[in-house]
């Protein structure tokens, strides 16, 4: 009886797997059709093809990247930047995405004030940017195994206490470092961000049209979302400037 159940289960699993593969293949076909439209210069058709792929619930950086390109060529700068930001979230180290995002950002109206950078912050930022979330996860895993390995060695060869103790401390520090960086990075990823899609969005001192106008943002500018209230979002700029913007003027990354 049990054997029969296992068999049925295995067959079902296999079928589901096959089903998943065929779904992914049909989505790939849709994506390829989008690429075809892009090559032919039919950017609107390409956009709708890519959007259908994404509407199926598939989160793929290459699809977002190509969608961004199609939006850019179609003259929709805000949506292009939004798509590139989404692609970057999924493929943080992809050179194409970084290059096109930079190119698109250079076309927008608002200019972000750059921080004053000294050598230390630049080095730290370079290190921080070098490690991706997945890389850090792999490092955490490796260090956990390393820690276990050293502990087992110590258990079976208790004579070399200094060697094993030193190694243990070293690996533990590395583990702590990578784990805290992973935690920080994944926290950063979770901060909700949005891109302005309207031509012009007015930042106000409160959630309503009667409040004082604090600043004006233009299409393509990226902001952090801090609070939401009744169709209004409290956004903060890189410079620290904050204001309430109507939720319809922007879209979350």
């Amino acid at each position: 009886m049990k054997v029969v159940l296992y068999l049925v289960g295995a067959v079902a699993m296999g079928l589901m797997h096959v089903d998943a593969i065929s779904a992914s293949e049909s989505l790939a076909a849709l994506y390829n059709r989008g690429n075809e439209q892009y090559r032919a210069g039919h950017f609107e058709a390409a956009i709708s093809a890519y959007q259908r792929v994404l509407a199926e619930g598939l989160n793929n950086g290459e699809v977002y990247y190509n969608l961004g390109n199609a939006y850019f060529k179609n003259g929709q700068l805000g949506r292009a930047i939004l798509s590139y930001e989404r692609a970057l979230k999924l493929m943080p180290k992809d050179a194409d995405v970084l290059a096109n995002l930079q190119f698109a950002n250079a076309q927008k109206v608002d200019r972000e004030t750059e921080d004053e950078e000294n050598v230390v912050t630049r080095v730290l930022q370079a290190i921080f940017a070098f490690f991706s979330v997945d890389m850090l996860a792999v490092m955490v895993c490796v260090f956990v195994f390393g820690l276990g390995g050293v502990a087992v060695c110590w258990i079976f060869m208790p004579i070399r206490r200094v060697l094993w103790g030193g190694l243990l401390a070293l690996v533990a520090v590395a583990l702590l470092g990578s784990a805290s960086m992973l935690a920080f990075k994944s926290h950063q990823h979770r901060i909700p961000k949005a891109v302005i899609l309207a031509d012009e969005a007015i930042g106000r001192s409160g959630p309503g049209r009667d409040f004082l106008q604090v600043f004006t943002l233009h299409e393509g500018t990226k902001v952090k979302i801090e609070r939401a209230e009744g169709g209004w979002l409290l956004v903060r700029l890189h410079s620290g400037l904050g204001g309430w913007i109507e939720a319809s003027a922007l879209e979350r990354v």
């Binding site: 593969i21 992914s24 293949e25 989505l27 790939a28 994506y31 390829n32 690429n35 892009y38 792929v53 619930g57 598939l58 989160n59 793929n60 950086g61 290459e62 699809v63 990247y65 190509n66 390109n69 199609a70 850019f72 060529k73 999924l90 493929m91 194409d96 290059a99 096109n100 190119f103 698109a104 979330v133 997945d134 850090l136 996860a137 792999v138 955490v140 895993c141 956990v144 195994f145 820690l147 276990g148 390995g149 502990a151 087992v152 258990i155 079976f156 992973l182 994944s186």
Partner: protein, 610 residues
């Protein structure tokens, strides 16, 4: 006596100085001639002013002015002023006499007025000659308007005031092209003593770009003769009007409010004012209507024509003329001439890819009349290639209203020597070719087609398996620790070692007993059964197995708290195996099987108890 001497010494240098200056400047007599306007209509007046400047204290004769045929000398007047200056002990004196000769134009044509000349100390001194143009009368009515009195007056009175007080708007042209300036002069003529002269309505001149060249801050009266009558005339305003739209424009009237001082002349018994010093009459004067016809610019404007009207010339200079590729060169283009310079925003820049231009900085300097001047365009250009590069001319297409045709002003071409820039590696000598340059920038191309698309929404650390994997080393370390403890006890603790081995030993012996049972060796079987059970109990309780009899087993097991029934069964197995062991041939196969199973059960039961 002493004092007298001092005064003499004091006076002597002063008198010497006075004499010296007089002697030195006696010869300096200057004659300057000018006219109030160079173009008049037939019937209008020209004032020819001759200024005689002399250092001499004594009088000079009136200069002689010839009257050209076609003009009629209608009158003359003169005034004299004198100034004496002491500067650092040196005295200069100047006597200036101004003679105004009024001519009335009778015939059209171009006339030369002057030279004015006078003879002094046997020498004849001449002024410059001034060229004037007399054009046909335009047929417009005299530009004067009736003054409006502040209170009711009789018609005779109004006519009387009209004759003696009027405001004239005098344009220099009445027919112009769009963009061609009209000089408009407002003059107030009066034979009364005026007070409180103020502007009422000031025209806004719709359809014109206005530049004010003169705006009187106070009335500066000069004598002028109109229709044979001498007037005090004051220039109020002088404007340059640049028409912006074609069509007939009637200029708004300028309005001036003033009071006429009429002296102590009372009109009636009741008007008599015993306290007022003067009887004043409030009057409002307006300039007459002036119609300007603005003609549209003719068809056939050249390409690049931007509405410049006038006469222009241009020159350009570049600093520096030898430079490196990529370095900027400052180009200064100066546009000079008469016309609507303010309307010229930019010039036609040279075409071609050899230079990159940035938008110019402009600076407009107009002359006093605002009808001309110079406009400077400062460009920054960056040569795009090296070698000897010729900067093609800048150009301006404009309309010349005098010749009524379009013209183009051009700058001279400028040759620049451009040395190769520093940036980028230089091509290796002997190898032809040039460095690859980026011609444009665009976004990077799309990602290629895929046969499968992977969902990337979950990163590695967000999957459950990742954290399960982290449990592996933890469990490994725990297992290793437990294993080491086990090994240590086995090595050091006999009781632990025997106890740990007891079950496997018992199983091994039972296996052997099973083999003996199947071989039919009953003696061996019972002996093995007995041994396995006895050794098991001995191992579990860490005793010697040799002397373990059925009674002793009972005591030992009872000490360990084993159930009475189990003890009885153990003792039964011991008894049975002992009995059959020492009486061979006994025991059937069934009995052996039963005993074997009983022993197996017992070992299992005892394992749980002890």
């Amino acid at each position: 006596m002493k004092n007298k001497k001092q005064i003499f010494f004091l006076l002597f240098p002063i008198s010497i100085a006075l004499f010296w200056t007089q002697w030195a400047r006696a010869q300096d007599v200057i004659l300057r001639a000018s006219v109030d306007r160079t173009r008049v209509e037939v019937g209008e007046q020209i004032q020819f002013t001759v200024v005689v400047e002399a250092a001499q204290m004594g009088g000079l004769p009136q200069p002689q002015v010839p009257t050209p045929a076609g003009l009629h000398l209608s009158g003359s007047s003169s005034s004299t002023s004198m100034s004496v200056n002491f500067v650092n002990g040196a005295m200069t004196s100047k006597r200036t006499t101004t003679y105004v000769f009024s001519f009335v134009a009778q015939n059209e044509g171009t006339y030369m007025l002057g030279p004015a000349q006078l003879t002094h100390d046997g020498k004849t001194i001449r002024s410059d000659r001034v060229r004037v143009e007399v054009v046909k009368a335009s047929g417009q009515p005299q530009t004067r308007a009736a003054p409006q009195a502040g209170r009711s007056m009789s018609e005779a009175e109004i006519r009387d005031i009209e004759q003696n007080l009027f405001l004239q708007a005098i344009p220099d042209k009445r027919v112009v092209y769009v963009g061609e300036p009209v000089r408009l002069t407002y003059k107030l003529f009066t034979r009364y003593d005026l007070r409180n002269v103020q502007y009422g309505h000031v025209p806004t001149f719709t359809g014109f770009w206005t530049e004010t060249t003169f705006d009187a801050q106070r009335l500066n009266m000069q004598r002028e003769t109109v229709d044979g009558r001498a007037f005090n005339a004051a220039l109020l305003k002088r404007l340059a009007l640049f028409p912006t739209t074609a069509g007939k424009h009637v200029l708004e009237q300028l309005e001036v409010n003033c009071e006429i001082v009429a002296g102590r002349r009372s009109r009636s018994l009741f008007d008599f004012d015993p306290f007022g010093a003067f009887d004043t009459q409030h009057v409002r004067v307006r300039s007459g209507d002036v119609e300007i016809e603005v003609k549209p610019l003719p068809r056939g404007a050249p390409i690049g024509f931007g509405g410049a009207v006038g006469q222009f010339e241009m020159r350009a200079e570049a600093v520096p003329t030898s430079l490196k590729a990529g370095d900027p060169v400052a180009l200064k283009v100066v546009l000079r001439g008469k016309g609507n310079l303010h309307a010229i925003a930019d010039l036609m820049r040279p075409k071609g890819a050899a230079f990159k231009f940035y938008d110019p900085k402009t600076n407009l300097e107009t002359d006093g009349t605002r009808l001309g001047g110079q406009k400077t365009f400062e460009y920054v250009a960056i040569p795009q290639r090296d070698g000897q590069v010729t900067l093609p001319p800048f150009a301006l297409a404009y309309f010349d209203p005098v010749q009524a045709r379009y013209k183009t002003a051009q700058t001279n071409p400028i040759v620049l020597r451009v040395a190769p820039g520093e940036q980028g590696p230089q091509p290796v000598a002997g190898l032809p070719g040039e460095e690859v340059r980026a011609l444009g920038s665009d976004i990077r191309y799309i990602k290629p087609d895929r046969t499968r698309l992977v969902d990337q929404s979950l990163s590695l650390h967000q999957r459950g398996g990742f954290w399960l994997l982290q449990a592996v080393p933890v469990l490994g370390v725990a297992g290793a620790y437990i294993y080491r403890r086990h090994r240590e006890r086995l090595a050091g603790d006999v009781a632990y070692a025997r106890r740990r081995r007891s079950r496997s030993e018992a199983r091994r012996r039972l296996g052997k007993a099973n083999q003996l049972m199947h071989a039919g060796d009953s003696a061996g079987f019972y002996s093995e059964i007995h041994r396995s059970l006895a050794r098991f109990v001995a191992d579990r309780t860490n005793r010697a197995a040799a002397g373990l009899t059925a009674e002793q087993v009972g005591v030992v097991l009872a000490e360990c708290g084993v159930d009475e029934q189990v003890i009885a069964r153990v003792q039964d197995v011991f008894a049975t195996s002992d009995r059959v062991r020492f009486a061979p041939g006994e025991g059937s196969a069934e009995e052996m099987q039963r005993l074997f199973e009983q022993t197996e059960d017992l070992i299992g039961a005892l394992e749980r108890c002890i």
